[in-house]
């Protein structure tokens, strides 16, 4: 059996390990455009923050490929693929045949369109290489500008702030992480960041950058100007599917997969940030581009590729963020629309400085936000993922220190 995996992020790595556990003899080839050992992408913001050294990023060492009998093809991208001939064509003209294929190519940052966006020291924060380059620029950075209040922009701003650098964050909604949290949690986050010295500008965009070789400032849509020696752009990601034949493989927000993570083409699977699967909370197809989904999808896709028909329950959005003494855990569909279908239960305990917001659809919990005392939040995540009907008191779920037994009869 020829198993080929595009991408050596955690989805690809988990799939490879899964396949090797079930298929001792088949060949596994892994293709990646990053010529480095598999590393933990979410941790790159911690490198920017200065909390961990770059040496702590790898999550598999260089002996990984040999240990699992994997043939690595590093520093290459896939140019196109022939679905009928079951062949990949790489950017360096190499060809690779496959019996089963996993597309775990991840996502690329959405490009920004603004004059002079090509200036040096304007970065995306998607890979290790970009962050290492940022570190070189930090000593000359007096002011930094961060675009986007989503997970990437937020973590970049916090990281720089932690380093003592003056940061201005431009966000579209009234508070950061607007896709992950509600207004109340968002206000708590914004208050804490502002207290720590972050400048937040709501509703303004960059119309142009200024500078000669490297960026020195930005002109904003409200006419004001901001000086900056470092810009980090976090305006979302787009799945890496340039090589995917759209007439043969169904693509929507990402590559559409069924509950075995198989695409519309038999024998071709997708997992990780590139894959679009059924969202358990939303009950529609969605791309949940987060680490634990990449792990789960990679693992299960690998099992299916090795011939074991394991079902994937579906994906669930979830994030845990710890900044400046404020802990936030958000899972599922936390901003469900204002509709009689959904019931919301919330509690803000000022004495304990905790906030809870729970969203129900019928008797199912579909979304949860926890601010502080997040240690037992996994109980709620599991309830959402396993679609456990909530019988008895819903108020118990709001307790700052939820006890598992209080849910059992």
């Amino acid at each position: 059996m020829n198993h080929v995996i595009i991408g050596n992020g955690i989805a690809g790595v988990s799939a490879a390990e899964s396949i090797r556990q079930l298929d001792g003899s088949g060949s596994i080839v892994m293709i990646s455009d990053e010529p480095v050992d598999p590393y933990c992408r979410p941790m790159i913001s911690l490198v920017l923050e200065g909390v961990i050294p770059p040496s702590k990023l790898p999550i598999r060492d260089s002996g990984f490929y040999e240990e699992f009998n994997i043939t690595p093809v590093l520093g290459s991208r896939v140019a196109r693929m022939d679905v009928d001939a079951k062949t990949l064509f790489l950017s360096d003209a190499k060809t690779l045949p496959f019996d089963t294929l996993l597309i775990a190519s991840g996502a690329d940052p959405r490009p920004i369109k603004a004059p002079a966006a090509h200036l040096a020291n304007i970065f995306f924060m998607r890979n290790q290489h970009q962050v290492l380059k940022m570190l070189e620029v930090l000593p000359q950075t007096r002011h930094a500008l961060v675009l986007g209040g989503g997970l990437v922009g937020f973590k970049a701003a916090c990281g720089l702030l932690h380093r003592g650098i003056d940061v201005t964050l431009l966000i579209r909604s009234g508070y950061p992480l607007s896709l992950q949290v509600d207004e109340i949690a968002g206000a708590m986050i914004l208050a804490e960041l502002t207290r720590r010295g972050l400048n937040v500008r709501v509703g303004v965009e960059v119309t142009a950058f200024k500078g000669i070789d490297s960026v020195t400032g930005a002109i904003l849509s409200d006419g004001s100007e901001v000086s900056c020696e470092l810009v980090i752009v976090g305006k979302g990601v787009l799945p890496s599917i340039s090589f995917v034949p759209r007439d043969r493989i169904q693509v929507d927000l990402g590559i559409v997969v069924d509950d075995h993570l198989e695409t519309s083409c038999s024998g071709i699977f997708a997992a990780g940030d590139v894959a679009e699967s059924m969202d358990i909370a939303r009950k529609t197809r969605w791309v949940n581009a987060i680490w634990p989904e990449a792990v789960a999808q990679g693992r299960i896709a690998g099992m299916n590729m090795a011939g074991r028909a394991v079902v994937y329950k579906g994906s669930l959005s979830r994030n845990v963020i710890r900044i400046f003494g404020l802990d936030i855990l958000a899972a599922g569909w936390v901003n469900a629309p204002d509709d009689p279908r959904f019931a919301v239960l919330s509690e803000h305990n000022r004495r304990l400085n905790t906030y809870r917001r729970l969203v129900f659809e019928g008797d199912r919990l579909i979304g949860a936000i926890l601010v502080n005392r997040i240690e037992t939040g996994g109980i709620l995540t599991a309830m959402i993922q396993n679609e456990i009907p909530v019988r008895g008191s819903r108020r118990k779920l709001l307790e700052p220190h939820l006890s598992l037994k209080s849910l059992m009869f």
Binding site: L345, E347, R350, R351, R395
Partner: protein
Amino acid sequence: MSSTFHLQTITEDGQLLLKKAQADQIETVWDRHQAQLPQCGYCDLGLSCRNCVMGPCRVDPFGEGPQQGVCGADADIIVARNLCRMIAAGAASHSDHGRDLVEVLAQVAKGQAPGYAIRDPEKLKSVAAEYGVETLGKDILVIAGELAYAMQEDYGTRITELALLKRAPAKRREIWKKVGITPRGIDRETSEMMHRTHMGVDNGWQSLLLQGLRNALSDGWGGSMIATDVSDILFGTPSPKPTSVNVGVLKKDQVNIVVHGHNPVVSEMILMAARSSELIQLAQSKGAAGINLAGVCCTGNELLMRHGIPMAGNHLMTELVLSTGAVEMMLVDYQCIMPSLGQVASCYHTRMISTSDKARFPGMEHREFHPENAEELAKTLVREAIENFDKRRKVYLPVEPVQSIGGFSVEAIVGALGGSAAPLIDAIKAGKIRGAAGIVGCNNPKILHDYGHVTLARRLIENDILVVDTGCAAIATAKAGFKMPDAIQFAGPGLKEICGALGIPPVLHLGSCVDNVRILMLASALANALNADISDLPIAGAAPEWYSEKAVSIGAYFVASGVYTVLGPMPPIAGSLNVVKLLTEGLRDVVGAVFAVEPDPEKSAILIRRHIEERRKALGLGFHTL
């Protein structure tokens, strides 16, 4: 945001103040109860023992782990010892309260207690006679001195029988003698209880419990009874007076002073100072309309009974009363004062003052009261409270007070009946009143606040059972409106008729927790009139929301005196089914009454009604109303 306050209390002022306390980030007794869960099952079962350092020990209720402590005590002994120490602590508290009053009486006799006086000289003479003190031709103060001396004898070892036992029916005293539980001395029984529960002394679980009953009787017919009688002598025997209850008794435009604790020796002096024209003028000069004194817990009950002073709340309300932001000063002496109050008060401008040399509290300023300095110190403190008036910030008083009538001492009840207990006995014989029940005791966050008291009272009066109540229970039913004459609308036809004719409410406020002895005296009067024993009467007792060791002593002396008593929360005895069986069944053959445990007041009402009907049948009284 959703609210759960109705799951904590049934009272409107309680729910509103819980909301305020939450907004003010105040931790309440309910929060601390939640944080304690799960509470240790060994202790809840009474199966843990810390009496000696060969331990600490526990017995495994599942029969596999250790079944005896290191000394060899089994579950029965450990449970009995633990319960008896609770009785000892409760009896000691009530008796010490009585002792402090006796000391004031002695000081008054010597003229060394300025401000205190003998307000009921007739009661002084009648009680003195009971102690064998000759009263003919003697000066009141001399009688007072001799009575105080004789009462102090009751506390000691010189006598072999408490003086006031003579008030109990002869048949009851015979039972005590036969069982061997006639209390000999007040401090003596508590001391012997502590001795017996020491490792290696009394290891008979039944004999321990019998001493427990004797210890409780030394409280009920000793320490507490002396406390009530001497309070009546010094401060006046209560008579019916209008009053009001709940947090709305605090006034937005007046200096609010709240007294908390138990002994009227302190609160009566504060009242006197608060009524002095000099201090009222001072208050007015500060922009207040006057000085408003209110009480919480039993010392408030004492002032309510004698002077109609309003009550701001019962046990679980004491923290919430402070969260109104309207209290200039809270003065406390002893018992049932939560050590959290100092911390709660620090969020507001309230000054917290501890007054007893026996009782210090964190966050409170200590200003000690003694008979010699009480009058002056009271005036000084009221002045300081007035000075605190302009430091008020925001005040939250969201309710209007509920009107109520208090002051039903036994003398007052008999007076209301026209001079003798006969009309009440006739009504019971005719079946218009089936019987009577005393609802007593505290609050407990384990039971929905005031729900136990109010529900039980309502069901009983619906069943034509006259209710008398004391302590926190009395405040609960007053807040529910049961203590106004128009509350007869909630009563059954017979009770409605009798109370309506007499112009009294169907629930009578008998006083504070030491005033539970008034129930004993009322029961004795009825029993004597029928030439029966207390256990023959169609009466019962109930403590639907109790929490304290004092309550264990009260429950024990009720049962030991022949009154069937239903408890809401379970005492820590389930670890020994032998003890449970004795207390709920076996005692019937020993003292003619038993305990029952039933947290649901709807069900305990049925238990009480059933018991009353059984007693009526045994007395030859019909089920039907004549």
